[in-house]
């Protein structure tokens, strides 16, 4: 499969009055053509910062890409000039934000908001741009698009607005679409429709999607691969089935256990106790050690190395070390 995007050892820090917050601490992943990668994790784990760093949209200052590379078609995006980066935004890599109620400018018609994106990146007449916008609105399922182009965002419902946001993001046929919690602000039925729309559009255009979410239900519906983030690191990643049926990291297991299930009648939810570490001074060892039921002495002191369980599935956990495995076997 063709690699579209490659994130290598990305470090992002924020300078605040309290000191440096290390929001992303060495994240690496690949994105292949036509696939959907889900980045999951709880609030503050760095998943949004990771996605915004790819597009270089983190507010700077205070934010800064301290180290690492983001390779898109061989170009390192972190090294590009701001004007070169602008040519990539919206044209090659697009982004969808969480809340469709606020993501559209309330004082500009949605037609103009879509058309301006096209005119920014393509040498095209206004009429043709308008035609393109119409096609796109049709594709995302807005009824009566030629009339709707003249309307303002407040004249649309939340689900319709998210469709418009998606149309806006896809109108220049980008190769990568980053969707940051695209369904969190929507109710469940609309959520399902939007996720179907993602799959549908991916089939038609072959766009690669990174979906950022904390909702494992969303992940189960759309993701091909999953990366689990915790405290600024990817602690486990693999194919969807592997993560759901054979999770290895205690944090991943904890996440899956804390999802409400219809099939286990009356079973209590199992929350993960404690809270994530302070990223002003991240722990030297595994950041999850303090909350982990399996923590060993080594976990507090040294960050675990990456263990590959299969071609795709890898996990950062000391339990994978053969000494720990031996010990576990002994206990049984």
């Amino acid at each position: 499969m063709e690699k579209v995007l490659e994130v290598k050892d990305l470090h992002v820090t924020f300078t605040t009055y309290g000191g440096e917050v290390q929001a992303v601490r060495g994240v690496s992943f690949d994105l292949f053509k036509g696939e959907t990668l889900a980045i999951v994790g709880e609030s503050g784990c760095g998943k949004s910062v990771t996605s915004q760093s790819i597009m270089r949209l983190i507010p700077s200052p205070p934010g800064r890409i301290a180290d690492g590379a983001v390779l898109f078609k061989g170009k390192d995006l972190t090294k590009l000039k701001e004007s070169e980066m602008r040519d990539i935004r919206g044209a090659d890599i697009s982004m969808i934000f969480q809340d469709p109620m606020t993501a559209l400018n309330p004082t500009i018609t949605i037609g103009e908001q879509i058309i301006e994106g096209i005119m920014q990146h393509e040498t095209i007449s206004r009429q043709d741009a308008r035609k393109k916008a119409l096609e796109m609105l049709n594709l995302v399922g807005i009824p009566n698009p030629s009339e709707r182009l003249k309307h303002y965002p407040h004249q649309f419902s939340g689900g319709m607005r998210q469709r418009i946001v998606i149309a806006m993001a896809l109108v220049c046929e980008p190769e990568v679409l980053i969707a940051d919690e695209p369904t969190t602000a929507l109710d469940v039925t609309i959520q399902a429709q939007i996720l179907d729309l993602f799959k549908d559009i991916q089939k038609k255009t072959g766009v690669s999607i990174i979906i950022i979410t904390h909702d494992l239900g969303v992940v189960a519906q759309v993701a091909d691969r999953i990366a689990v983030m915790y405290a600024g690191k990817i602690v486990e990643a693999g194919e969807r089935r592997e993560i759901f049926y054979n999770p290895q990291h205690p944090y991943t297991k904890g996440l899956l256990n804390s999802v409400p299930r219809l099939d286990l009648d009356g079973a209590d939810l199992v929350p993960i106790g404690g809270s994530p570490p302070d990223l002003f001074a991240p722990p030297a060892g595994c950041p999850f050690a303090a909350r982990c039921g399996y923590a060993m002495e080594v976990c507090d002191r040294v960050y675990p190395y990456k263990t590959h369980l299969s071609r795709d599935h890898h996990v950062d956990c000391w339990l994978q070390d053969e000494r720990a495995q031996k010990m576990l076997a002994g206990v049984k």
Binding site: R89, F97, T102, N105, T107, E116, Q120, Q155, M168
Partner: protein
Amino acid sequence: MTGYIIKRLIAMVVTLWFIITLTFFLMHSIPGSPFNEERNTSEAVQRNLEKFYHLDEPLYVQYGMYLKSVATFDFGPSIKKSSQTVNEMLGRGFPVSFELGIVTLIVAVFSGIALGIIAALRHNGFIDYLAMTIAVLGISVPNFVLATLLIQQLAVNLAILPVATWSSPKHMILPTLALATGPMAIIARLTRSSMLEVLTQDYIKTAKAKGLSPVKIVFKHALRNALLPVVTVLGSLAASILTGTFVIEKIFAIPGMGKYFVESINTRDYPVIMGTTVFYSSILIIMLFLVDIAYGVLDPRIKLHKKEAS
């Protein structure tokens, strides 16, 4: 839309009637009369004068007569300057005040908005602090202090601009500067704070993610949304600037409307007090009406007429 305008016009007339009534009775409740001066006038003369201006009639009769004359846009004769009518005074003073006011407004609005935008874009940078220092100075230094300083430096010491009067564009520079600084500072601070708020909005992030240039983001996406609070203050600001300012007009010897406001109150010149008040109120009410129209233009979510929502 026409329905809305008609409704507003009726409301404006009612408001004006309230203002006239209040001012009229307040004015007459203050003890004394236009003819109570140190100068000794004989009883007979005084009575004749009062009769001429209908001041001997009961108050409600005077009130009725006044309403009638205002309805025909006749503000009556001045008591103190007996050869002039209030209409003549306004007709002479207002164009001058209006000229000064318009130039001042243009300067204040454009420089204020520009300063506010620059400050917001360089938030917490040197330029931001500089702009806000200028703004705080502009608000806190009274315009008569600024006016005298300007005259002393630019007109007296450097002698590059005329000291006073109102006859050529060159004469307009100093009074405009002195008068515009305060409003400019207010507009700059407002623009900055509302711009800062707008720049953190999600739709600005969306615009950035589309790859738009900073210029487009600021002027097309941010400014329009940031201008609403500015437009709000602009209405009353414009009314007070356009109808003349006593101090600045006095300092620069500009024959505007400002002096009539103050002098008429000091001399109990009843028709002039009423005339200037009604005139100022009308301008203010019209400005506020224009502001409401401007809201609808700036922000499509604000509908002036009901219906037509989807």
